[in-house]
Symmetry: C2
C-alpha cells in the first residue's frame, strides 16, 4: 500500500494538532483510508518550532512554495492562515495539480470563487471541513448528508470566543469588558479580538455555509455583520426574564425575494437546544424541507478539534485521489455549472422580530406615544416588561418583544420614538428569532 | 446527462416519503448529483397503494424480485422492512451487481456481515444512512466525518417512541401506560410497541453504530438490552430532584478490557444537551480523542426525515456509481480486511454509576446496614435523599446515587440489601452516566 504524502504548510496550533493526530492515530486512520497518510514535508517560517513539533522525524523547510511544487507531495494542507500568501500558495498548489485541504475560512470566503474555479480547471479537490465549526462535520452534513433537501435556513453559533463571552456575561452577570478579559486570559480570545467579537469570523463561516446550502457563489461582502461589543448585562438579564438567551448567530434564510445573510446578537427561546450551547462550543441548526430540523454541536476551534476536520478531509481526498472529477463531491455541494444567482437581501429588507429597551421619563402617555408609532408601521408588541423607577429616579426602562417586521420599518419607527421628548437616548434593539 | 434509475422496493411510509422527496426536489437533487435520479419502477404487494402514491407516473409491479433483476435498474432501494424477504432481496440485488440502499436496521444488525461480504465480492455499494436516527446524517459523521479519531464512546437517544414516552412521563407526571397510550393515539407507537419500548430497535441501531465506530462486525446478540416499561413516574421525579433526567440510551464504549454494548434507561445530568432532547427527537453524542464531544440531533423517524437519508445515499451512490471499489467509503468505515475482533463485555463486567431506590421500614439502623453492604463492595454513596414517611406509614423511600462500580458488584450488593429484614421488596436500580 503506497502511502499518501502530505505537504503541510504551517505548523502552528492547527498544524501542530494535525501532525499530532496523524501520528497518534496513524494505524486507525490507515485502516479507514486504505493506505497510510503521512506528512512528508513541513513548511514553516519558524524552523525551530517545526523541528520541535515533528521531533526531527520529518523534513522541514522554510519555503512553502517549494512544498507546493514538490513532486513527491500528493496533497497540500494549507494551515498558514490569512488571505495573501495563503491564496498564492493554494493557487500554486492547484496549478501543480495537487489536491488541497485548508481550514482557512477567511481565504475561502474572500477568494473561494477564484480558488474553486482554478481547482475545477485543474481537476483537483479542495476540501475545507475545518473552515467552519472546527471538528463538527457540518460541511459534510450540508454538502452530502442533506442533499435530498431544499434547505430553508441555517442558524449557527459559529464563533466560540463570542459564545464564551456571552455565556460568561449571563452566568456571572459581568460586563462585556470583564468577560472579554477573562476570555483573553484563558486563551479563548486574541489580544486583538476584533475578528471574533465584531462577527467578522462568523461572517466568513456563514458565507461558506450559505454557498453550500443554496448553491451560490461566495459573497462575503454582502453579509450584514454586527458584533457583541455593545451588549450590556441588563439586556441579557431582561432577555432572560422574557424567556430568551442572547447568542451571536450567523443566519442565512431563503425567502421568496432573496437570501438573508446576517450575523448579529439574537434572542433565542431559552428552551431551544441551541440556546443551551455554552462556552466555546459551536452548534449549527439547519431547517430543511424533508428532514426538518437537525443540529450539529461540538468544539468549533482548537488544535485537535480542527485537526480532526483536516484529517477527515485528508482521508476523503486520499480515497478519491485517483478517481475522476465526476466522482468527486462538488466544492459547493452543487455541480459547478449549477450554481444559482439568488439575490442577497439588504439588511433593511430582512424580516425578524425585535427586543427593544426604551429608556423613558416616567410620565403619563409615553407608552401610548411609543405604541402608536409602532402600530403606524404595523409593528405589534407581543410582550412587555416595565420597570418601576428606582427611588429618586424619574426614568424607567420599558422592554418589549415585537412581532416580525421588515428591518426598515423598525428603523423608521425607532427614529420616530427617539424623537419623542419623553424618550432618553437611543433605543436598544436586538433582533429575535423563535427558531 | 443519463438519469440514474432506481428500483424502489416497498412504498409504505418511508417509501412514499422517498418518492415524494425525489419528485419534489428533483431539480435541486440533480443539480447536486450531476444527473437526474428517478424511480423507474416500484414493487409493492399493494398495487393500488403504489399506483396512488406514484400517481400512475411510474411502473408498478408486485414482484420485488423482478425489480432486482431488471437490467434497467441501477440502484435498488429496499424499504420493505423485516429480515427474511428483505434479506433475500438484498442478496439477490447484490448478486445482480446492483448497488443497494436500505433503511433496514434490523436487517443490517442481524445479517449485515453476510450482506457486506456479498457486496464486497460483487463490488457494489451498500448505503444505509436511514438505518440509524432517520434523517440525522450520523452514519456519514461516524464513517467519514470522524475518521481522524479514535472513537471512545457513543451515547444516543436512538428510539423516538421511547423518548416521547419518557418526555411525557416527566413533563405531565403520567404513568408509563398513560404515556404509551398517548403515543399510540398520536401514531408515535405501534399497536405492539415491544420493539420500541423494550429497547430492541435501539439495540439494532447501536449495533450498527458500534460496528462503524470501532471497526467490528455486527454483533447484535451481544447487546445488553433493557427497556423502559418498568420505569415509574416516582423514579423520574426523584431523578429530577437529584439533577438528572432519565433517557433510554444506547451506549457503546471502548474500555481496556473490551467494548460495552448496552441499551437501558439511564440517568443523565439535566444540564447536558442530550438530557434536553424531548419528544420523538433523536440525538447522538460521540466522544472521540481528537475532536472531543460532538452531538447530532434531529428527527429519528417519519416518512420524509428517513427519506432524506435514503435520498442522500442515492446521491452518494449515483456519484460513485462508476467509480472503482477503492474509491468507495468502506461499509463499516474501516476497510473490510481491517475489521477488529475486540471482545464485547458481558453486562456483569460493565462499569457505571447507579441510582438506587430502596424501600425500607422506618427503623433505626437500616441505613447503616445498607451502606455497610455497599461499602463492603467498594460502592460509595455520592448523594442521598430520604423521604419522611407519610402519616400512618411505616415505610420510607431512600434514594441514592453511587460512584462507578462493576455491575456484578452492584448485583451482589443488592442481593445482600434485599435479604435484609428491614427492606421491602426489590431495590429499584437504574444506571447513571455523567457523560
Amino acid at each position: 500500500m503506497k502511502a499518501m504524502n502530505v505537504g503541510l504548510l504551517g505548523i502552528g496550533t492547527v498544524g501542530g494538532g494535525t501532525y499530532a493526530v496523524l501520528e497518534r492515530n496513524q494505524s486507525e486512520i490507515a485502516r479507514r483510508a486504505g493506505c497510510p497518510i503521512r506528512i512528508s514535508v513541513v513548511a514553516d517560517k519558524d524552523l525551530d518550532r517545526a523541528a520541535r513539533v515533528t521531533g526531527g522525524k520529518v523534513r522541514v523547510v522554510d519555503d512553502a512554495f517549494a512544498v507546493v511544487s514538490d513532486p513527491e507531495v500528493d496533497i497540500v494542507v494549507e494551515l498558514i492562515g490569512g488571505t495573501t500568501i495563503a491564496r498564492e500558495l493554494m493557487l500554486a498548489a492547484i496549478a501543480q495539480g495537487k489536491h488541497v485541504v485548508t481550514a482557512n475560512k477567511a481565504l475561502l470566503a474572500h477568494h473561494g470563487n477564484e480558488i474553486f474555479a482554478a481547482a475545477y480547471r485543474a481537476g483537483v479537490m479542495v476540501a475545507f471541513e475545518g473552515a467552519v465549526a472546527g471538528g463538527v462535520p457540518i460541511i459534510k452534513a450540508l454538502r452530502e448528508g442533506l442533499t435530498a433537501n431544499r434547505i430553508e435556513w441555517i442558524a449557527g453559533i459559529i464563533n466560540g470566543t463570542s459564545n464564551y463571552i456571552l455565556s460568561e456575561m449571563r452566568s456571572k452577570r459581568v460586563s462585556f469588558a470583564t468577560a472579554l478579559g477573562d476570555a483573553q486570559r484563558l486563551g479563548y480570545a486574541e489580544a486583538d479580538p476584533t475578528f471574533d467579537i465584531e462577527g467578522i469570523d462568523a461572517s466568513h463561516k456563514l458565507t461558506i455555509m450559505a454557498a453550500i446550502a443554496f448553491g451560490i457563489p461566495m459573497q462575503v461582502d454582502k453579509v450584514y455583520t454586527e458584533g457583541i461589543a455593545r451588549l450590556s448585562p441588563e439586556d441579557i438579564r431582561y432577555a432572560e426574564e422574557l424567556g430568551y438567551r442572547i447568542k451571536l448567530l450567523g443566519i442565512t434564510r431563503r425567502t421568496p425575494v432573496g437570501l438573508e445573510l446576517r450575523v448579529h446578537p439574537t434572542l433565542v427561546p431559552s428552551t431551544r437546544l441551541i440556546a443551551n450551547v455554552e462556552g466555546v462550543m459551536n452548534a449549527i441548526l439547519v431547517q430543511a424541507d424533508a428532514v426538518g430540523r437537525t443540529l450539529y454541536y461540538g468544539a468549533g476551534a482548537g488544535a485537535e478539534p480542527t485537526a480532526s476536520a483536516v484529517v477527515a478531509d485528508l482521508v476523503d481526498v486520499t480515497r478519491m485521489h485517483s478517481a475522476s472529477r465526476k466522482h468527486q463531491v462538488p466544492y459547493l455541494a452543487f455541480q459547478p455549472d449549477q450554481l444559482s444567482d439568488i439575490p442577497i437581501l439588504p439588511m433593511e429588507e430582512v424580516q425578524t422580530s425585535y427586543y427593544l429597551r426604551i429608556r423613558a421619563y416616567d410620565r403619563p402617555g409615553v407608552l401610548a406615544d411609543v405604541t402608536r408609532i409602532l402600530a403606524d408601521r404595523q409593528i405589534s408588541i407581543e410582550a412587555m416588561v416595565q420597570r418601576e423607577p428606582s427611588e429618586g429616579e424619574d426614568q424607567v426602562d420599558v422592554i418589549m418583544r415585537t412581532n416580525r417586521t421588515i428591518e426598515k420599518n423598525m428603523v423608521a419607527a425607532l427614529d420616530g420614538i427617539e424623537a419623542l421628548a419623553s424618550i432618553v437616548g437611543k433605543v436598544i434593539r436586538i433582533r429575535l428569532e423563535e427558531l
